[in-house]
C-alpha cells in the first residue's frame, strides 16, 4: 500500500531517516451516530437511505438547532459531512415553506462552482425544487433575471453580494423570503477580511430587515478556539457552536521533518521537493502546501522531470485552476504544489498525503492542510517540513508543544473606522440611513460618521434618513479585499497571465523580476503604474530574483501604555511603510551572486 511504502521509505532510506524528528499516529476512530427528535421529511430520508448515509451526532445537532430557529457555527474537521449538516435542515425548511429562500456564500467562485454540484444533486434526488443557481461575476447577463426571480437557493461570494445589495429592489422576492444565510469556510473571514465580511453581513441583514425577513446564520468553519464568539462578531447574532465530531476517520501519521538536522544542511525547499517526489513515486496522491506563490512554482519546477506534478495557486485563471483540480481528482495529476488556495474545501478527491513546507503561521491552517489527506477511511499521512526560522525549529525540538497547541482565536474587529465608514457609505446608497433604526448595525459611532461624511459632501440628510450623494458608485470605491486595493494585470503579449495586488506587484513584478507561472519563467519588461499593467516576456533562465525591502514602522498615536515585567509595552496606531529598494538575482542552488540591482 502506497502510504505504508512512503512511511517505510522515510524510516529506512538514509536520505530521509536522519531528518525525521517525530512521528505521531492517531488511530482509527469509529463513527458515532445520532437520532433526530422528529424524522426528516421522506424525500430527504430517502436521499440519505439511497446513499447509505446515517447521520452523525454533529449533523443531528446542527439539524435540531436550526429547526428551533437558532444560528449555528459548525467547526468539525474537513470531510466530516459539514455540508450535509446544513443542507438537510435548509432543504427541510424549503420543502415545508415553498417561498423560502437561502443564500450560500463561498469565499471564492471556484468553491461555489464545486459546491453547486452537491446542492443540485440533493435537489434532483430529493425532488425538492429550489432551482439552485450560482450568481456571480461569471453569470451571463441573460440568465440573471430568471435567477433573481425564481431561484430559492443562490450560491454566491462576498464580492458579488457587495455589488448586488444596491439592487435590492430587483431582489425583493429573494430578500423578503430569506430564511438562511450560509457562510462556508467562515474561518477565512478573520482580520481585515473578517471586518469587511462582518459589515457586509450587517448590510445584508439590514436589507432583509427592510423586506421584513430575519434570516438564520449558518457558519461552516475550520476548528477555532472561539467559535461562538467569532460567529457573534461576524454576524452580529448569537450562535450555537457545534464542534464535537461524530464522523469516523482512518489512521493518520503526522511526521515532523527537520532538514537542517541532516549533515550538509539541505534547504527546506530541496527537502520538500525530495519528499514530494518520493511520495508520488510511492504511488501516493499528494498535496504539497507552501508558504508563498513563488515557492509553489519553484518546487513544482524543481520536481521537473516528473510530469504529473503541477503548481496551483491564487492568481491562476479559473479555467487553469479547474483543469488542475480535475487532474488531481481523476488521477492524471499525482502531485500538486499549492499555496493555501487549496486549503478551501474544493473537492479534489481522496488524497493519500500532505506535505506542509514550513509552518503556515497558524494551527488553524495546519489542521486544514493536514485535513486534506485521508478523506476516506484509509490510512494517510501529513509531513511538516521545518524551515530554519526559530518557531519552526522550536516545534522540531518540542513536538508535544506542537501537537498540543490549540487552534487560534479568530479575531474580527468591527470598529475599524475606515472599513466601518466605507460600508456605511455603501449602506447609505442601498437605503437611506436612519441613525435611530440603523444604530444596531453600525454601532455607537454612527452619528460621528454621518457628520464626517456630510462635511465632505458624500452623505446628505434628507427626510427619510441620510442619503448617498457621491458621484462614484459607493460599492466600487469600497473593496472587500483590503483597506485599499488595486489589482495589477500581468500581460504576456495580449494574453492575461494572472493578476496580483499592488503590494505583491511591487515585490514580485518590478522590471527585471523573474516571474514564475505554471512552471514557465518570464521576465518583467515593463510595469505601468497608471494602467495597472505588467508586461512580461518569456525567458529561459535558471535564475530567480528576490526583492530587497525595508519596512519602516512609525508610531502615529499612543493610546495605552503598560509596564509588563519591567518592559514598557504600548498600544496605539502605527504607520507601516514597506519599500522595495532593490532585488538580487540568484541562481538555483548557488549562493547570491553580484550586487543587488535597483528597480525604479
Amino acid at each position: 500500500m502506497a502510504v505504508r511504502d512512503f512511511l517505510d521509505l522515510l524510516a529506512t532510506d538514509p536520505r530521509f531517516r536522519e531528518s525525521v524528528v517525530h512521528i505521531e499516529t492517531t488511530s482509527r476512530r469509529e463513527a458515532r451516530y445520532g437520532d433526530l427528535s422528529r424524522p426528516l421529511p421522506k424525500e430527504l430520508q430517502s436521499y440519505c437511505d439511497g446513499k447509505g448515509l446515517r447521520l452523525y451526532t454533529h449533523q443531528c445537532a446542527a439539524i435540531e438547532h436550526l429547526r428551533t430557529g437558532e444560528n449555528i457555527i459548525i467547526t468539525t474537521p474537513t470531510a466530516s459531512g459539514k455540508t450535509l449538516a446544513f443542507l438537510l435542515p435548509v432543504f427541510e425548511h424549503l420543502a415545508a415553506d415553498p417561498g423560502a429562500t437561502a443564500l450560500f456564500l463561498y469565499p471564492t467562485k471556484a468553491l461555489a462552482n464545486d459546491q453547486v454540484k452537491v446542492v443540485r444533486e440533493l435537489e434532483r434526488e430529493s425532488g425538492i425544487r429550489v432551482d439552485a443557481a450560482i450568481y456571480d461575476g461569471d453569470t451571463p447577463a441573460g440568465r440573471r433575471p430568471a435567477i433573481r426571480e425564481r431561484s430559492r437557493v443562490i450560491l454566491s461570494n462576498p464580492h458579488e453580494l457587495h455589488q448586488v445589495l444596491a439592487w435590492h429592489m430587483k431582489w425583493s422576492r429573494f430578500f423578503r423570503n430569506l430564511r438562511f444565510v450560509v457562510i462556508d469556510e467562515a474561518h477565512r473571514y478573520r482580520g481585515v477580511a473578517g471586518s469587511h465580511m462582518a459589515m457586509l453581513l450587517r448590510r445584508l441583514a439590514r436589507i432583509a430587515d427592510h423586506y421584513g425577513a430575519r434570516p438564520q446564520f449558518v457558519l461552516s468553519s475550520a476548528t477555532l478556539a472561539n467559535p461562538g464568539e467569532f460567529a457573534a462578531r461576524l454576524t452580529g447574532e448569537e450562535a450555537i457552536a457545534i464542534g464535537e465530531d461524530g464522523s469516523p476517520a482512518g489512521a493518520k501519521t503526522f511526521v515532523l521533518y527537520n532538514p537542517s538536522t541532516a549533515g550538509g544542511g539541505r534547504s527546506a525547499h530541496s527537502a520538500t521537493k525530495d519528499l514530494l517526489l518520493a511520495s508520488v513515486e510511492s504511488g501516493c496522491r499528494t498535496l504539497c502546501f507552501t508558504v508563498s506563490r513563488r515557492l509553489a512554482e519553484l518546487i513544482a519546477i524543481r520536481s521537473g522531470p516528473f510530469p504529473a506534478i503541477s503548481a496551483y495557486r491564487a492568481g491562476y485563471l479559473p479555467k487553469d485552476r479547474r483543469a488542475i483540480e480535475d487532474g488531481l481528482k481523476d488521477g492524471s495529476l499525482r502531485g500538486v504544489v499549492t499555496t493555501n488556495a487549496l486549503e478551501l474545501g474544493i473537492d479534489v478527491g481522496s488524497l493519500d498525503g500532505v506535505i506542509i513546507s514550513g509552518y503556515p503561521g497558524t494551527m488553524i491552517s495546519v489542521r486544514q492542510q493536514a485535513g486534506r489527506s485521508g478523506r476516506r477511511s484509509g490510512e494517510s499521512f501529513a509531513v511538516l517540513v521545518a524551515f530554519e526560522n526559530p518557531l519552526d525549529q522550536y516545534f522540531m525540538r518540542h513536538p508535544q508543544a506542537f501537537f498540543s497547541r490549540p487552534c487560534e482565536h479568530a479575531v474580527v474587529d468591527t470598529g475599524n473606522p475606515y472599513i466601518l465608514s466605507g460600508h456605511l457609505l455603501c449602506a447609505a446608497a442601498e437605503l437611506p440611513v436612519d441613525p435611530e433604526r440603523d444604530g444596531r448595525w453600525f454601532g455607537p459611532d454612527l452619528a460621528g460618521m454621518l457628520a464626517a461624511f456630510e462635511q465632505v459632501h458624500l452623505l446628505r440628510k434628507a427626510s427619510r434618513g441620510w442619503i448617498y450623494a457621491g458621484k462614484g458608485r459607493a460599492a466600487d470605491m469600497v473593496s472587500l479585499d483590503a483597506v485599499s486595493s488595486d489589482t495589477f494585470r500581468v500581460m504576456h503579449g495580449a494574453r492575461l497571465l494572472e493578476t496580483m495586488d499592488r503590494g505583491q506587484a511591487y515585490r514580485e513584478a518590478h522590471p527585471g523580476a523573474i516571474l514564475l507561472h505554471r512552471g514557465e519563467t518570464y521576465v518583467v519588461t515593463a510595469m505601468d503604474l497608471d494602467q495597472h499593467a505588467i508586461r512580461v516576456e518569456e525567458t529561459d533562465t535558471d535564475t530567480y530574483t528576490q526583492p530587497l525591502s525595508t519596512t519602516d514602522v512609525a508610531v502615529v498615536r499612543e493610546i495605552r501604555r503598560r509596564d509588563i515585567g519591567g518592559m514598557q509595552v504600548s498600544f496605539g496606531d502605527i504607520k507601516v511603510t514597506q519599500e522595495v529598494v532593490g532585488y538580487t538575482v540568484r541562481h538555483y542552488g548557488l549562493p547570491p551572486a553580484g550586487p543587488p540591482a535597483a528597480p525604479p
Binding site: 427592510h210 466601518l420 460618521m449 464626517a452 442619503i467
Partner: protein, 358 residues
C-alpha cells in the same frame, strides 16, 4: 471619536474624486447603456473642464434662485424647485381610426400567423384581422386582438407588437390612440449609473401649439424624494403615455430604483415609447451613431453651444454641491431642456406628423 472618522471621510472623498478623474464611470459596467460607455473616446473632457471653470468664474457670488427662475413646489416628500419653459411645437391630434386600420391590416399580430401564412390568408380574401373572425383556426385569437383594439388597450397592444421587435413602426401607429397632451416626454440627469441620486427630472408636454418643459432641479440631493413625489402623479395619471430616449434601459428603471430606495410605492406600467429603438431602425447606417446628440444635429439641424457632455453631468453637479456656485448647473439644465425638445421633435418626425413637429 470624531477624529478617525474625519480622516476616513477625507479618504473616501479623495477616492470619489479619483474615480471622477480617470474613469468617470469605472467599475461595474454590466448595466451601462451605450451613451455612458467608458470605451468611447472622450476628447471633450478637457473642454468640459474648461467650461466648468469658466462657469464658476462667471457665476461667482450668484444665488441659485437668482440664476434659475422657477418656483418652489411643495408635495408629500417635502419641497423642491421647478423651472418652466415653453417653445412652439405641435403633434398630430389623436387618430384612433388610423391606428386601428394599421393594426388590423397586420395579420401577423394574431398568434400563430407568420408572414407566409399572412400572404396566403390575404390571397384568400382575409384582408384584415376583422375578417379573421370568420376563419375557423384563428377566430379566437383574432377576437382577442379585436377586443384590445376596441378597448384602446394601448399597453396590451404595445406588448403584443413589441414582443416581435421593439422598433416595430406599428408601435408608433399605436401612439395615435393618444391625444398630444397625453404624452409625457421624460429625461433625467443623475450622479451616475444607478444607486446614486437623480439631480434633475425633466418632463415635457405638448399642449395648444407649444411644448411646456418642467424641470425639477435639485437644489440639494436631499430634495430628490420631493422631486420624485412631485412627478409621480403625472406619471401615474390614467391615459398618460411615456416617451423617452433609451428610457426603457435607463430613465425608467432608474426612477423605479430611486422610488424603491425611498420606499415609495408606485405604479409605472404606463405605455412607453422608447424613441431610441425607432431611431435606430430608421437611421442606422445613415449616421455614425444614433445618439440623441447626433440625430439632433443631422436630422433636426440643431447645433449646441457650450453643451455639457452627458457623462460630465455628475462632475458638474458635484462641483455645485461642494461650492454652492450654481454656474455649472446652467448648461446641465439647458442640456436637459434641449434633449426633451429634440426628443419630442424626433418622435413627431418618426410618426410622420403633419409639419414634422416644427
Amino acid at each position: 471619536m470624531a477624529y478617525p472618522f474625519d480622516r476616513a471621510g477625507r479618504l473616501w472623498r479623495a477616492r470619489a474624486d479619483r474615480a471622477g478623474e480617470h474613469n468617470a464611470f469605472g467599475g461595474n459596467e454590466r448595466f451601462a447603456p451605450g451613451r455612458w460607455s467608458p470605451l468611447a473616446p472622450f476628447p471633450d473632457y478637457d473642454r468640459a473642464r474648461r467650461l466648468r471653470d469658466d462657469l464658476i468664474a462667471g457665476y461667482r457670488g450668484r444665488a441659485f434662485e437668482d440664476v434659475f427662475c422657477g418656483r418652489e413646489v411643495a408635495c408629500g416628500g417635502g419641497r423642491c424647485y421647478r423651472l418652466e419653459s415653453r417653445s412652439a411645437m405641435d403633434l398630430d391630434d389623436r387618430d384612433p381610426d388610423r391606428a386601428v386600420a394599421a393594426i388590423l391590416g397586420d395579420l401577423t399580430l394574431v398568434r400563430g400567423i407568420g408572414e407566409v401564412t399572412e400572404r396566403k390568408l390575404k390571397r384568400w380574401g382575409y384582408r384584415t384581422v376583422a375578417d379573421l373572425v370568420r376563419h375557423p383556426l384563428y377566430r379566437r385569437e383574432a377576437a382577442r386582438l379585436l377586443d384590445s383594439v376596441a378597448e384602446g388597450d394601448v399597453c396590451n397592444l404595445l406588448e403584443r407588437i413589441g414582443r416581435r421587435r421593439r422598433s416595430d413602426p406599428l408601435l408608433l401607429e399605436v401612439s395615435r390612440f393618444h391625444a398630444p397632451a397625453d404624452f409625457i416626454f421624460l429625461d433625467i440627469e443623475t450622479l451616475g449609473l444607478f444607486s446614486r441620486p437623480i439631480i434633475l427630472i425633466g418632463l415635457a408636454r405638448v399642449r395648444g401649439g407649444s411644448i411646456v418643459v418642467h424641470q425639477y432641479l435639485l437644489r440639494s440631493v436631499d430634495e430628490e424624494e420631493a422631486a420624485l413625489t412631485a412627478v409621480l402623479p403625472d406619471l401615474e395619471a390614467v391615459g398618460t403615455a411615456l416617451v423617452t430616449f433609451n428610457g426603457r434601459a435607463f430613465d425608467l428603471p432608474y426612477i423605479r430604483e430611486r422610488l424603491a430606495y425611498y420606499g415609495i410605492p408606485a405604479e409605472l406600467g404606463m405605455p412607453h415609447f422608447d424613441v431610441l429603438h425607432f431611431a435606430r431602425r430608421r437611421w442606422r447606417g445613415s449616421f455614425a451613431t444614433c445618439r440623441l446628440g447626433t440625430l439632433e444635429r443631422e436630422v433636426l439641424g440643431v447645433g449646441r453651444a457650450d453643451d455639457v457632455p452627458g457623462r460630465m453631468v455628475p462632475e458638474f453637479y458635484d462641483t455645485y454641491q461642494r461650492t454652492g456656485n450654481p454656474g455649472p448647473l446652467v448648461p446641465v439644465v439647458e442640456h436637459n431642456r434641449q434633449d426633451l425638445i429634440s426628443l419630442a421633435r424626433l418622435f413627431a418626425i418618426l410618426r410622420g406628423d403633419g409639419n414634422g413637429g416644427a
